[in-house]
Assembly symmetry: C2
Homo-oligomer: 412 residues x 2
């Protein structure tokens, strides 16, 4: 008698802001047999993955590789490796994940200043630049696409201002990489952290990062050789403010990803297979075509929701393409709607955090989940579920409005 | 034209001390489609995994769950969450991974004292107890199975001594869990960290841990609610020595794994599928039967190596069942032997670290890789490769000696 049943997950239409559905090619890649971490076949796969990450981040940086953990492990790796205790760090916050950056920078021992924007809006770049000139930080750390509010922060002007002032700009692009443009070099971003389980449509488990030579110098100045890796006679180097983490130490990780292959962790073989296949899919589709696809399905979804009489949350001028936030109508129990969507229709959408809890639903249209079948299925199911919850709405209009968008095609 | 080829890893016989071959059932589990992280079907899989981990760690602890990262992420999570800066920590070292524990404890800001044993030996428990009484630490941190030297440290007497003195004992059982007995409760271990890619034969990517109420109290005393998770009015709690990491903060991770399901990272869906299936395989085989299997193949391997005239490294009285270290004969280039084994025979064995570099080969017989076919294939290939490297040895004896062991079966 088996106490634990065979794994047999139900099929789901996942329209949250991550994790989202995974391309079967990526799922199959994970079922290949294991290679040893220093097998030349495997290190060759690692090198190919680095090259594909450079292209995805649109950068000529030497360093582009995954940190072995979920997205926030990448954020913490960058912050703990670059920011020394006492360093001045400015964190502009316009949603939950800005608060997370504050939290992590704070735990790194930074002297953090924050500026906050009302949720649903983003900063005018001049506001951030004024705060930089006022606080004179060594680092600015901010979110590119805020999934908690569905907003996207323009970064090019902030990047240029940081570069002119010798301030390093670290960006959380977890929600945007592979779905909307992220121009690492063009926008002068010094370090960027991506996520796998959102627009790249790879299972959660790795955090692709990239950083330039200026960022690397910060980490190398704090580098310490790991005890036990050198011969018995060698002593670890003493540095003033050594990196506080071993697992998330970029100065060690880059030695592991370099031709030195200095032993650190054991690379996640199957996840690396998945990341490589997912990036191959991104580059085969082409970044620009992928961005066009995400905009098309966003337009169809919004047209359907509006035809249904739903009101969208947040400033439309800075809407994040891949997350659409819907105000929960008065008197409707948002969690009951989510449960019915999941149980009756097999569709998952997201609730929300902090001040928005119970006020909005969040619908993600990311990566492999971002397709016509899913959008049309959701609109029909959402309408039926709202009717079951006592909402009066024009029956059948939502799907028709979306079909009209699809017939018109993406505007150039 | 595809610039990056279809994934097609060569078949390998992996006899290193990790990563090792993965059961096809585990590989297939990873190819299932994704569930959302708060989907009731998924949280039910998380709960089942916790129960299977308790059984594998032989503990009644409430907390037994994976940290989302490779093995050392689990070690760092335990150390950074329990050890406050300034805490006194004793690290007994008898190989490379003891030095790693020192390194990580040091980066946590601990006041670390070490005692060292010549590589190839382990401590008499009385030596460790005397050091505890001398240094009076709050924590003892040590390795159970040292893959760098192939030695296993008996822990029961040290565990009892720690408990009597109110000292917490944290154990790195990365190499032993699922391959040789690890008695969390029986040996009075306060926190234990396992690894996936060794005797559990799951791809690298998660670090199963368990800890008891005394360990939990250490983490909870330093707990701080994450900024941005509560409503705007709430303030994060101020504690004297907050946990320095967010990603590896056990006080947050356990809220995520509890019925609260407080959002932290996005659980690694596919790796969780793999861990669950791998643990199912362990419990279906049965822990005791699994340990017997590992001892049987160790005996066959050692009999073969000795019949070939090879000399084994280290004190035989404390040999780690699942790692066999072989002295490289004088005048033989160890790396050339390893390359030929990989290229001609598709077999991977390991080199070594620090003072043992170039002196020994390390052969792992772990988990799914630990089987008769692999041991016999290795012995034949190793003999042929050594002959090609100019070693004189009694041809054909090694495989015969191993077959004799297999015919006699495992002694009870």
């Amino acid at each position: 008698m088996r106490r634990f049943a065979d794994l047999s997950p139900s099929p789901r239409t996942i329209l949250t802001p991550g994790p989202v559905e995974v391309d079967p090619r990526v799922l199959r890649a994970m079922s290949h047999s294991i290679l040893g971490q220093f097998d030349p076949e495997f290190t060759s796969l690692m090198n190919e993955t680095m090259q594909m990450l450079r292209e995805t981040f649109v950068t000529a940086n030497v360093w582009a590789y995954p940190v072995d953990g979920t997205s926030r492990s990448g954020i913490e790796a960058v912050l703990v490796s670059l920011i020394s205790p006492g360093d001045r760090v400015l964190v502009p916050i316009y949603g939950r994940f800005g608060h997370l950056l504050h939290e992590i920078a704070d735990r790194c021992g930074a002297e953090v200043a924050t500026i906050e924007k009302e949720w649903g809006y983003v900063f005018d770049p001049e506001e951030v630049i004024a705060a930089i000139d006022d606080f004179r930080p060594a680092f600015v750390v901010m979110v590119h696409g805020e999934t908690s509010t569905g907003r996207a922060q323009p970064l090019a002007d902030i990047g240029r201002a940081c570069r002119e002032r010798g301030v390093l700009l670290i960006v959380d692009a977890v929600a945007t990489i592979g779905g909307v443009p992220v121009e690492t070099d063009g926008w002068m971003l010094d370090a960027v952290v991506g996520g796998t389980q959102k627009c790249l449509s790879i299972p959660a488990g790795m955090a692709p990062i990239t950083y330039n030579a200026a960022a690397e110098r910060k980490a190398l100045a704090r580098k310490r050789i790991e005890k036990g890796l050198l011969g018995a006679a060698a002593e670890p180097g003493d540095v003033l403010r050594p990196i506080r983490s071993n697992y998330l130490d970029l100065s060690q990780l880059q030695d592991y990803w370099s031709p030195l292959r200095l032993n650190h962790h054991t690379e996640m073989t199957s996840m690396l297979y998945a990341l490589r296949e997912g990036l191959r899919l991104v580059l085969e589709e082409g970044l620009e075509a992928r961005f066009v696809r995400h905009r098309l399905h966003e337009r169809a979804l919004m047209a359907g929701l509006e035809a249904m009489g739903m009101r969208l949350y947040g400033d439309p001028s800075c809407k994040l393409t891949v997350v659409t936030c819907v105000l929960i109508p008065d008197g409707v129990d948002g969690e009951s709607v989510r449960s019915m969507l999941l149980e009756a229709f097999g569709i998952e959408i997201a609730s929300s955090f902090g001040p928005l809890r119970g006020r909005i639903w969040r619908i993600g249209t990311m990566g492999y989940s971002c397709n016509r079948k899913n959008v049309l299925h959701l609109l029909g199911a959402f309408e039926a579920t709202l009717v079951r919850h006592g909402v009066t709405l024009p029956a059948g209009e939502a799907v028709q409005a979306a079909l009209t968008v699809y017939e018109s095609g993406e505007q150039p």
